[in-house]
């Protein structure tokens, strides 16, 4: 059976695309799926460091499309999980080193060998974006609960539609339950109201993400914490399971007590 290719995109930079790509890739591999992650951010690659694989790069995507190596030579096999691979891109090159047609050919070739291909898209809507969506079947749009990234997500939804990629799914990242609770952060319902697309994940803001990125070990590998659980929930939904969304604005026990005695937050 041919694999499925997803692009992880957002429009705005810094919302968590790379971290999400790394964690979903690890999560799928934990479930014994054959996975390859493609870094499409030529010139500003980072998926390698987030995965902790930066010292193992010999060949990259640009070498592959230029024909200086075979596709298999550029794939880095993650030693932590046998089914997980990274296809890095070039750091000292430009986005124009690759064309959408070349990218599509690479993605199609990988589909024959892998169950899931996740493409980490660069920020922006120019060449890099056009390359990253070439040949993919589905899109995961990442947004943070704030106006600028939601606005950019809306733009991306339009561009994906124009490119024939229907029904992208939304991942809301860096949600702070305390702020949503007191009405100072857009909640899931608010964002879905505005964007009118289906959600596939809601990820809490968690300082452990920084710790795990420092170490180059995606947080799902630890299997601990709400964040890891939220990523695994996305993985299960990608696999077609019905998983209820985490209620991040559910008041805690102390909040209930405070509300009852009327001292608020």
């Amino acid at each position: 059976m041919a694999g499925k290719a997803y692009v992880v995109t957002s429009g705005k930079g810094g919302v968590g695309k790379t971290t999400i790509t790394a964690n979903l890739g690890c999560g799928l591999a934990l479930r014994d799926k054959r996975v390859v992650l493609i870094d499409a951010d030529t010139g500003l690659r980072n998926l390698d460091v987030v995965m902790g694989l930066e010292n193992r790069i010999v060949y990259d995507l640009v070498h592959v499309v230029e024909g200086s190596c075979r596709l298999n030579q550029a794939l880095i096999k993650d030693k932590r999980m046998k089914n997980l691979n990274l296809l890095p891109t070039a750091q000292i090159r430009e986005k124009s080193s690759i064309t959408p047609a070349q990218m599509e050919a690479v993605v199609n070739q990988l589909k024959e060998e892998f169950d899931y291909i996740l493409v980490d898209c660069p920020a922006g809507i120019e060449e890099g974006f056009k390359n990253a969506i070439a040949g993919v079947d589905e899109a995961l749009i990442v947004t943070n609960p704030e106006v600028s990234s939601v606005r950019d997500a809306d733009r991306i939804i339009g561009l994906l539609e124009a490119a024939g990629i229907e029904e992208p799914k939304l991942i809301i990242n860096r949600v702070r339950a305390d702020m949503v609770k007191r009405g100072d952060m857009l909640g899931m319902d608010d964002i879905l109201d505005v964007l009118a697309i289906d959600p596939i994940g809601i990820i809490p803001d968690d300082e452990n993400i920084i710790v795990s990125t420092n170490r180059g070990e995606p947080i799902v590998l630890s299997g601990k914490g709400k964040c890891a659980q939220a990523f695994m929930n996305v993985v299960r939904r990608m696999e077609g399971e019905e998983v209820p969304f985490m209620n991040l604005d559910h008041p805690g026990f102390m909040d209930m007590i405070k509300r009852i005695v009327g001292i608020g937050q």
């Binding site: 809306d154 733009r155 007191r182 009405g183 952060m185 857009l186 608010d190 505005v194 937050q265």
Partner: protein, 87 residues
Amino acid sequence: MLEFLTRFFTKNSGSKDVAKKRLQLVLIQDRGGLSLEVIEQIKVDLIAAISKYVEIDDEALDVELEDSTECLTLMANIPIKGTRTSR
């Protein structure tokens, strides 16, 4: 009143409501429906059309978009100074 009570009990500072409203309006423009230039053009055309019949105060003229939960509304507030009897 109900809103006041809810606000009182939940202690919402509610900046997310502002965010949501601003997003909804900016997305209307982004989605290519009505840009600020188009609204400006509507304003100019409105003045031209209505001025044929009545004298209006184009300084005080106010045209803006409002997005309620139901639908998008173009609100125009056009003060009439007098009628043009000579036409």
